[in-house]
Each structure stands twice: as C-alpha cells, then as structure tokens.
Amino acid sequence: MTDPRVDLLLALGDDELVLGHRHAHWTGVAPHLEEDLAFSSIAQDEIGHAVVWYRLAGELTGKDPDALGLGRPPEGYRNAILVERPNRDWGYTVARHYCYDIAEDVRLTTLADSLWTPLAEATGALRREERYHLLHARLWLDRLAHGPLDARGHLADGLVAALAEAPGLFEPLPGEDELVADGVLPLASADQHTRWRDVVTAELTALGLEHVLDGSAHHSDGEFVPTSSGELLDTGDGAAAAGAVASGGGLGGRLGRHSEDFAEVWEELTGTYRAYPGVRW
C-alpha cells in the first residue's frame, strides 16, 4: 500500500514538470523577444517547483528528483492531461497558462494550511513566484480579450479547448479520503475545483467571454463586443463552435492514464536519462 502523500506529491510535481517542459518549447521561438524571455522564466519556475515536490517525495520514497522526474514508465506519471497537450498556438498557450495558474494558486493556498508541516512550508517560496505567473497570465488574457478580433478569436478558441480539460487538474487522487481525514490535504479536490470555477467564471464573464465556459468560442446571442481596434465583434448568426467540451473533462491523468500526446512528452523528457542508466550529468 503506497503512502497517499506520495501520490499527492507526484501529481503536484508531474503537473509542474510536464507543463514546464511544454512551456520551455517556446524558449527561443516565442511570438516576440520580450515574451520569449518572460515565458522562459515561467518555464524554469515550474520545473524548479517540480524539483521541490520531488525532493519531498524523495524523503518518503528514497528516490532522487531525477529518478522521480525522469525515471518512471509513462503510466507512472500522475500529471493532468491538460498539461501534456502541445502548445498549439499562443492563444491556447495563454488559455492553458491562465487555467493552470489559477488552479495552482487555489492548490497552494489550500496546501499552505496542510497539517503536514514540510508540505505547508514548501508552499511559501512557490507562492511568491506564483504571484508573478498569475500577473503574467492575466495580463495576456486581458490584452488578447481586448485585442483585435483575430486575437480575441484565438484566445476564445484556446479557452474552449483548455477549459474542456481543466477538470482533470482537480481529478480526485487515489487515497484522497485519507489525505483529507489526516489534514494533509485541507480541502478535497472537488472543493478546490469549485473555488477555481468561481474565480475563472467571474473573470471570464467580466471580459465578456462567458460563452467559452459553455464550450462556445462565439457569443450565441449576437452581442456586440467592443475591442481596442474600434471594431465591433459581431457574433452574428450565433453559429457556435460547441462540442469541444466532449473530451471527458481531461480525466485519467491522476491514475496514470494519459492522452496520445503524452507519448511524445515522455520520449523527449526521459529519453536521454533512460538511455544511460546510473551515470551523472
């Protein structure tokens, strides 16, 4: 019987590592230079956070961070499916970054109250960095939401795709009841999900993007939304591109069941480490 705290730490660490890995794919090729620099920093923070969680998991398993981060078979990874998806375009990247960092904020705020002291203490440094990730995500969300029609369209498409799989971030962990009962996890995943949904719903509604919450990239009521360019977003006949939600909520990751996209992540992420067992780099 595994310690349920290990499952929790691996879920935390794997989310950070896999998203950091995906984020780092923008390094050197982001849409423009200033953003390249900013997003590289965020990628490094996320990978650094993963190491924090793996170290703590290492105290329970006796394994070093590389063995945990790079040495498990694909089904051993506990990350949500959302974070393993490719970056697609900048609209999806911003949308996922936003969904994820709100979730991380809810999660770290929850864990700061953990009765397992090492876990609660580890959240401190992470929350300081997380503040900047949230500022960055909201800045881009706001900028694209108020941008030219094209930008707003890319953002809306990205949000529809990311929101559809965001529930996977709050998929209950194996052994979660025990974690909650022991006060290791002060708030169950389902309750964290509610908190997250409240924040996201309020913020997207304030930007006139509430339709994406229903899986539609366009307003269905023909509303006009003013944008910075002075154009009016005429949503016209209300032909909504619904249906994107029908992907099972991105669930399965916490049980090691991943999407087809994870195969590529796993190969890249772990290939060199696996090819030379037992050496130092």
Partner: protein
C-alpha cells in the same frame, strides 16, 4: 566643412581612442559597417538559441534542463539588447527580423549545424561560447560606445555560460566511456566549424571593421588566443583535437594549424549550411503564425490610453 574633411576628423578621433555615441555624427560608411556587424551579432544570438534549445526537452537531468533553459534565455536576451543597439543605427527590429527570416542577412557559421547528442551541447557551451567570448572580449575595445556597454553585460553572462559549459564537459569526461566518447565525437564534428568561426586569415589593411575600430584584433590573433586557452584544456582532459598539425611553435610563439576548407565556410554563411533552411523555415513559420500576437501587442497601448 566637407563630408571628406569631417570623415577624416572622425577617423582621426577614433584612431586616437575616441568613442562614438548613437547621436553623434558619423560617416555613412561607419554607420553601415556598425549596423551590419551588430545586426549579424544579434541575429547570431537568436539563431544560436535554436541548436541548443533542441536539447532543453531532452536534457539528461532536471538540473541541466533548468540551466540550459536559463542559458538559452540569456542568449535570446543578448539578441534583444543587441537589436536595440542596432536599431539606433537606423534599421527597425521588424526589418531586421524580416531580413533574417528571408535569408537576406547573415548569422555565424556555427549556428548552421545540427546538435546530434548531449555532447554537442557540451561543445557549444565550452568551446563555441569560449570562442565567442574571445572575440567579444576583444570587442570591448571597439569604438562604438553603445555596443561596448551592452557587450560588458554580455561578456559577464557569457563567462558564466562558459563555466557552465566547462562543468558539463568535466562531467562527461569523468563519466562513463560512452559519455567520454560522446564528447570526443562532438569535438571531432565541431572542430572545423570552430576554426572557420574566426574567419579566414585576412589582410588588416583591407578590413573595413578594423579601419573603423569596430574590431580591434585580426581573425588570426583571435584564433591564436582561442588555441592558447582551450587546446591545453582539451589535452589535459585527454580529449584529442582532430588536426594532426596542431602544435605550439615555441620559436614563432604561435600555434601551427591546418587551414579548414574555406569554400565550405563561405557556402555555410551564405545560407547553404546543413541546417540553415530548416532553422530559417521554422522561424519564418513561427513568425507568420503569430502575426496576430504582434498586432495585439501593438494595439494594447491605445487601449490603456483610452
């Protein structure tokens, strides 16, 4: 005062050690030479990010994954700073990026090659950053002051990269036979491009960059300085250099070495390197796919003003 007289005075001031600021009067020839040189340096920083970034995803440990991401980020940051310096000489960053991805402007020969193994990351971090550091340190004495200010920061960061590269190399050389061989193979692959990196031996009196003190050392002086530092280090590690003629000539006080194939060099810098088209095509594609992001960026100040 005639243009010729002004130019002569300008040249005399430079020869006397004078520095040029962006707002100063300068001859067109100086402006063009400085712009071309700094633009190519900026291009090389952002194109140089590409071969290394391929190994961020495949880094062998989490520590190396983090440090390589940070390193590539620094290179992009250097490109960012250098494009600003170049912009002040009269060409917009948009125009420079457009010319780069259209293949109209150049970047250093060493960034046209593939990175096959983690050993290539070690060679780039140790030997290519080392070679770049040799040339950039010499540029700290050049005549264009805004470039010198940025180079000071770049050299500080490059020194850190170079130590990081050396650390990667030491780990490989102290590791398993396979790791050691991985590094030796990479040195063998990269030696000729590194020799070419310094450029062919040139006639100083015909070098326009030396004329305007935009460069202060000849290609051969820089290459000799590179040998001084790096060849003994490689030999100490038991790594061989794939040039049987390479030796220090005590009497002449310099290294003898084999000239590489300069036709290959010219082909590569003209855009016919093994990875030139792939890397440019990729950058072109990313650029075109994200025009809408740049447009959104350009429009955002209007909104905050509203």
């Amino acid at each position: 005062m005639s243009y010729e007289t002004r130019t002569a005075e300008f040249k005399a001031a430079i020869d006397a050690g004078g520095m040029v600021e962006a707002g100063d009067w300068m001859p067109d020839e100086y402006r063009q030479a400085a712009l071309r040189f700094i633009e190519m340096h900026a291009n090389s920083e952002i194109m140089g990010a590409l071969p290394e970034r391929e190994w961020i995803a495949r880094a062998p440990s989490l520590r190396r994954k983090l440090s390589l991401t940070a390193k590539v980020q620094d290179e992009v940051g250097h490109g960012h700073m250098l494009y600003r310096v170049a912009e002040d000489l009269g060409k917009s960053r948009d125009a420079m990026i457009a010319d780069l991805i259209a293949g109209k402007t150049k970047f250093h020969n060493v960034f046209h090659y593939p990175t096959v193994t983690w050993g290539d990351v070690a060679v780039i971090g140790f030997l290519i950053d080392g070679a770049a550091l040799v040339t950039q340190k010499a540029l700290l004495e050049c005549s264009y002051a805004p470039y010198v200010r940025v180079l000071k920061r770049i050299c500080a960061e490059e020194s850190l990269h170079q130590r990081h590269g050396e650390d990667v190399v030491l780990e490989l050389c102290a590791g398993s036979d396979a790791q050691r061989q991985m590094f030796q193979d990479a040195v063998n692959r990269w030696w000729e491009p590194i020799m070419q990196f310094f450029g062919p031996p040139s006639k100083p009196e015909r070098d326009v960059l030396l004329h305007w003190r935009l460069k202060t050392r000849t290609n051969e002086q820089l290459r000799q300085r590179f040998f001084d530092t790096y060849v003994p280090k490689l030999w100490d590690l038991g790594i061989s250099v794939p040039d049987p003629a390479l030796a220090y000539d005590e009497a002449a006080g310099e290294w003898t070495w084999t000239q590489p194939n300069w036709d290959t060099f010219w082909q590569v810098v003209k855009g016919n390197g093994p990875m030139t088209e792939t890397r440019l095509a990729w950058r072109r594609w990313m650029h075109e796919a994200h025009g809408w992001v740049r447009e959104a960026m350009a429009e955002s100040p209007a909104r905050s003003a509203a």
